[in-house]
Symmetry: C2
Subunit: 387 residues, 2 copies
């Protein structure tokens, strides 16, 4: 199997559908995370490092325990500094191209956990400019609308305005532009092309854009004078941005940003990450109960063609998109998760029951989320950086 | 003689010093303006067109009469619209890399004339970001300082705040960014490379930057709702920017910007435009009387080795940098200019006298300019676009 990173995809017109593709704009194929660690040159999250995190957080977060976050760069350095009294800031973000789905919420929930346990600030970048630039059909009005809608989903998770600063790129460009210029001046076109796979037909906005994704890594110093590292919890497809940012950070007098990388929550289809471009395979926070039931009902599982056969030979949770929902989010109790897995493998529990359970859990979660999301409309302005 | 435009220079490592080079970042060699019109595909300013301008301005401005402005794109279209009641806006600017010299003031004075005669608005862009991006050594603090200093020189010429809007790129990026994104999305890297001669080693900030120089062409619609063309009086080296801007304007629902192109005021050396990078060949507005005298005294003229020889055979004003000062700016009376030319050619007036005259005129002009420049410090904020 070939791992296709940005530069490879760009130069390959014979893309085999079975290949794994992981770029900031496309994730497809079956993702082999161990290979990604090697290919991207990141570090696995070792037990030793997890223990160091646990020393600060108490019980390890589900997403660390289950290796949903599985890789990092410089998390050890960030912890060293923290132990000596230098805090870090958190930085993550969202490309507002449509509604938020459960797969987006997973790393944000983990980010909230880190924020609460380490008592630190979060910068959250909403990249309406990027989503405008990379899609021929999209206009800026559309991406601005989704910026607002997506911010509500973030706030609904429980982030507090004292420590959470949402950056809307086009609205807040006055805060980002000078930093992005400093970054851009130190990235040649040739470096950008090899990191992101740019081609002659790429528009010049897209070419510049990595400098804007880099800017929030360094904004804390501008706002507060404190030169502390940013720790970025995000899916590993964003890694090329941090590679180029890390290369220029110290030349500009900033700390290198550190990363902690997560897996993609699989879609309800057979492969790849949950994707807003295949709405039938994703559960969106705005999906109504009946939509959720319908999508779950149509989801790919590891079940057998007939109930009789499944009762006899059992099913395969390892390939089941429904089981992943329990694993990633909806069964916090590991012994109960194991029990469900066992019942699946032995044929004791059929897919129908498992789907009914998850649809109920999902709808309960989404109902409460939407209530908090409505309330977020009253407070959203408090998360906007004051001038 | 070869004309080297941006793309040619970029791809040519054997640059012959005698070649004419005209790019937005470099002008050198003896400039052949007729060839530039052909090479750039612009239109000459015909007598018919000048008459149309004169119908609005009364007596033709010195810089039109003497063909200092010599070429255009769509000036006829702009006049057609004006005659039917649709105004245009003026747009020009300055790269703040150092102090302003007389060569910079020449097109600004003409711009003021157009503004007064056509009663129209001027947008003046100060491109501190560009000057930062294109020079390895320069920092943003330096270009911001020159932004302020250079704006004072503009205001000192007599522009009124009601109709003059100075745009400082890094300070006013909130007004420019969305427009620049729309432009950038429609310019491929390949187009930018061939228009500006970008190379693999070019930084990605520079690659994006043409979209920012384009933005003020369209800002009037954003600020007022009126969709009118911009007319850009500027030296012809800036033409590549307007070519790419014109290509995307209508796709974005804007009028194509029109241009009127001027020559470069020659430096006091033998060739090329007056350049801040060769301070001994330029008269800066901050130069003190003795500096002016010294620079003028050392200037290249068309004179002969000895006074005796010159009295006998005369001198050559066509190659004289001092005579150019009279021609461009300091002798408005054409008959007096002809008289001075005649006295030079016949040997009746020697270089010393001519130099003494121009030094006096320059110092008188600069003294008054600096007085107005001081006063501009009190009003400079009025020229900044209100939010």
């Amino acid at each position: 199997m070939v791992i296709k990173t940005a530069a490879l995809v760009a130069n390959d017109n014979n893309n085999n559908n079975n290949d794994m593709v992981v770029t900031p704009w496309e994730v497809k194929g079956k993702v082999d995370y161990d290979k990604l660690i090697k290919e991207f040159g990141t570090q696995p999250l070792t037990s030793e490092l997890l223990n160091r995190v646990g020393a600060h957080t108490g019980k390890l977060h589900l997403q660390l325990e289950r290796k949903i976050f599985f890789s990092h760069r410089d998390l050890d350095t960030v912890l060293d500094l923290y132990d000596k009294g230098t805090k870090f800031v958190l930085y993550t973000g969202r490309g507002p191209s449509g509604p938020v789905h459960i797969g987006h919420l997973v790393p944000w929930m983990f980010t909230l956990h880190l924020q609460q346990k380490f008592k630190t600030r979060l910068y959250f970048q909403i990249t309406d400019d990027e989503k405008y630039l990379v899609n021929d059909e999209r206009d800026l009005g559309e991406t601005s609308k989704w910026s607002y809608e997506n911010a509500l989903d973030l706030i609904a998770l429980g982030f507090k305005p004292e420590d959470t600063f949402i950056i809307y790129n086009t609205k807040d460009i006055d805060l980002l532009y000078d930093i992005s210029l400093k970054v851009a001046k130190r990235i040649t076109y040739s470096t950008a092309r090899s990191s992101f796979g740019f081609q002659d037909s790429t528009n010049i906005g897209w070419v510049y854009w990595p400098a804007l994704q880099a800017a929030p890594c360094f904004i804390h110093k501008k706002l507060t004078g404190e030169n502390v590292p940013a720790l970025i919890p995000a899916a590993i497809d964003q890694d090329p941005y941090w590679r180029v940012t890390r290369d220029v950070a110290q030349k500009l007098g900033y700390c290198k940003p550190a990363q902690i990388h997560c897996r993609f929550l699989p879609g309800l289809g057979t492969n790849g990450k949950m994707s807003a471009s295949m709405p039938e395979t994703s559960i969106f926070t705005i999906d109504q109960p009946d939509d959720v039931k319908k999508k779950i009902w149509g989801a790919f599982t590891g079940g057998k063609p007939t109930a009789a056969e499944q009762r006899k030979t059992g099913a395969n949770p390892a390939i089941c998109s429904i089981f992943q929902y329990y694993h990633y989010l909806f069964e916090e109790d590991l012994s109960k998760l194991k029990e469900r897995e066992h019942k699946c493998i032995t044929g004791e529990m059929l897919c129908g029951e498992c789907k009914k359970d998850i649809a109920e859990k999902l709808n309960k979660f989404l109902e409460a989320h939407r209530e908090r999301r409505e309330k977020a409309k009253d407070t959203i302005e408090q998360y906007h950086i004051k001038r």
